[in-house]
Amino acid sequence: MARLARLGLRDEEKHSLRGELESILAYVEKLQELDTSGVAPTLGSGNERPVLREDAVTNQERGHEMVAGAPDPDDTFLRVPKIIE
């Protein structure tokens, strides 16, 4: 799970998480008592009537401001470690 979640957990974290998750999973197991045959899943909140808006760029002139908080900005780009060895 840690690998899927991209979390480089330390050994001691893995150890304590294992015990905690076991007790949480034992608790949520009670859902299995419920007969849900034929019950439709609620997707989203069930309330939404999504309203779409125009997919328009509205802040192009603020590019530098948008990346100013990035760990490693370069002009209006973001620098990351080499991807292809």
Partner: protein, 493 residues
């Protein structure tokens, strides 16, 4: 409103005093900044005090007042949970991973409050990424309950609640995903409301669980909540889940007339585990409402026992996805130990997230993973349908539902910190409203034998906030629990 007595700190009272020129917005702001400097050392309700911004806002408000303008929040000092983006003001979500994050834009709620003339006086402490029921999961230290400094204020919006309870601000905003406004309101003796899902825009609100998160206000009175909700509610084109539903005049709905209003009592909320003091206070509150003409009816919400399990599966699944964005690329912390891209993600995240956030990401990843998806996530989505249907059936019999907010009053700091499951169970009476998308109001209804506040929860059908507010306001016309303030260290009232 008396500047030296927090029990008189109401938005409505401040507005009357400002309009009558009893004091200026600048004087009010300075008085609160002074209080903050005296009480924060004990409470830690705020992660940032925005003094300069507050005084600039107050000056502008005073100019508008001088021109004869009168508006519901004009010149009123408020606090925002540190989950709301504030342009140019650091927004951490109480996480190390956003320690240096300065948003380049305002949340919709931030913008609406600023345009209404509210004075931003600080950013409130909270559980990291709104994950917690005690405010102990803040990466910057716990917040304390002013009614007992050894007690938690509830979470996750603990700082927002304490800021109002201790008179650091007249109102505040929080967010509520599973009870994060209502539990702190109950534990600190203030009013709080989680509106209907979609009632308030979440644009610029850092996401935790997107099918559950909702923005809402804290204040000392229901009338004040109505004033704040009227400003922040309404459709926002930048949040496609914000509803296109007219915003009623909430303030006008506070008629005091609840004759014939049918209030449902779900038997499942009064069975087992409820402390004697909480049950007594809730029963007494019901008598007050009945004396005003409300009718009490017994109802059933049979799937209540499954709400916590359903909530924690859905919320963590959504969180595991939402928090994927913290990867050290676009904003926030990046590890120094960069070797390759994958290592950068793994190290950035393990360094930046606290223990509860990691726990929920792992649980959510598990619930969504191949082989467990049907047993956990899909099952929880089906249980959610059953919980929603419980409320649909119940609202055929009543106009609103009355319950306790939590089985107990505020617990001690550290009491549940080492047992995540017992912490999750603090939300047993609040999770259902988020799963059903309905609004919930919490108002103070008494104290336990240790003089810790007790909160009454009033749940209404979707978009019927006005019904809950009318009932809560009617109750406050006959009681004064909401006008009691804790004695603060240093002899402050």
């Amino acid at each position: 409103m008396n500047l030296h007595d927090a029990s008189t700190f109401t938005v409505a009272g401040a507005r009357r005093s400002l309009d009558a020129r009893e004091f200026s917005a600048t004087e009010l702001t300075r008085a609160l900044l002074d209080r903050i400097s005296r009480v924060e050392g004990n409470l830690h309700a705020l992660l940032a005090v925005t003094g300069e911004r507050a005084l600039a806002d107050a000056t502008r408000a005073d100019q508008r007042i001088a021109q004869g303008e009168s508006a519901p929040l004009l010149g009123v000092p408020i606090v925002l949970k540190d989950i709301f983006a504030t342009r140019g003001i650091r927004t951490t979500c109480a996480s190390r991973i956003l320690e240096n994050f300065v948003p380049p834009y305002d949340a919709d709620a931030t913008r609406r409050l600023a345009e209404a003339g509210a004075v931003l006086i600080g950013k409130a402490n909270m559980d990291e990424f709104a994950m917690g029921s005690s405010n102990e999961n803040s990466a910057y230290g716990a917040c304390r309950n002013p009614w007992g400094l050894d007690r938690v204020p509830g979470g996750s919006s603990g700082g927002s609640a304490v800021a109002v309870a201790a008179g650091e601000a007249l109102a505040s905003l929080g967010t509520d995903t599973g009870g994060s406004i209502r539990l702190p309101a109950a534990f600190t003796g203030v009013c709080g409301m989680k509106p209907t899902y979609g009632r308030v825009s979440r644009y610029g609100v850092i996401a935790y669980a997107s099918s559950l998160d909702q923005v809402g206000p804290f204040a000392r009175t229901v009338e004040d909540l109505a004033m704040v909700l009227g400003i922040i509610a309404g459709h926002d084109p930048k949040d496609s889940t914000s509803a296109v539903v007219d915003v009623p005049d909430y303030h006008a709905s506070l008629t005091g007339d609840i004759r014939g209003l049918k209030l449902g009592l779900p038997r499942q909320y009064f069975e087992g585990g409820l402390s004697e003091d909480v049950e007594r206070a809730v029963r007494e509150a019901l008598e007050v409402l009945r004396a005003r003409g409300a009718e009490l009816v017994d109802i059933d919400l049979p799937h209540t026992p499954y709400a916590v399990a359903t909530y924690y599966l859905i919320a963590t699944a959504e969180a595991s996805s939402n928090l994927g964005r913290y990867d050290g690329v676009r904003y926030g912390h990046r590890t120094d130990k960069v070797t390759n891209l994958l290592e950068m993600y793994r190290e950035t995240r393990v360094e930046g997230f606290g223990p509860e956030v990691k726990r929920r990401i792992i649980l959510g990843t598990y619930a969504l993973s191949a082989g467990y998806y049907d047993a956990y996530y899909r099952k929880a989505l089906q249980a959610r349908t059953l919980i929603r249907q419980d409320f649909e059936e119940a609202y055929k019999l009543c106009d609103a539902i009355i319950t306790p907010t939590a089985p107990q009053t505020a617990f001690r700091l550290g009491e549940k910190a080492s047992d995540p499951l017992s912490m999750y169970l603090s939300d047993v009476f609040t999770n259902s409203a988020n799963l059903a998308g309905i609004p919930g109001l919490v108002i103070p209804c008494g104290f336990d034998t240790k003089k810790l506040p007790i909160g009454l929860q009033i749940l209404a059908p979707s978009f019927a906030e006005a019904t809950a507010l009318r009932a809560g306001d009617a109750y406050q016309k006959d009681t004064d629990w909401h006008l009691q303030a804790p004695d603060l260290p240093g002899g402050l009232k």
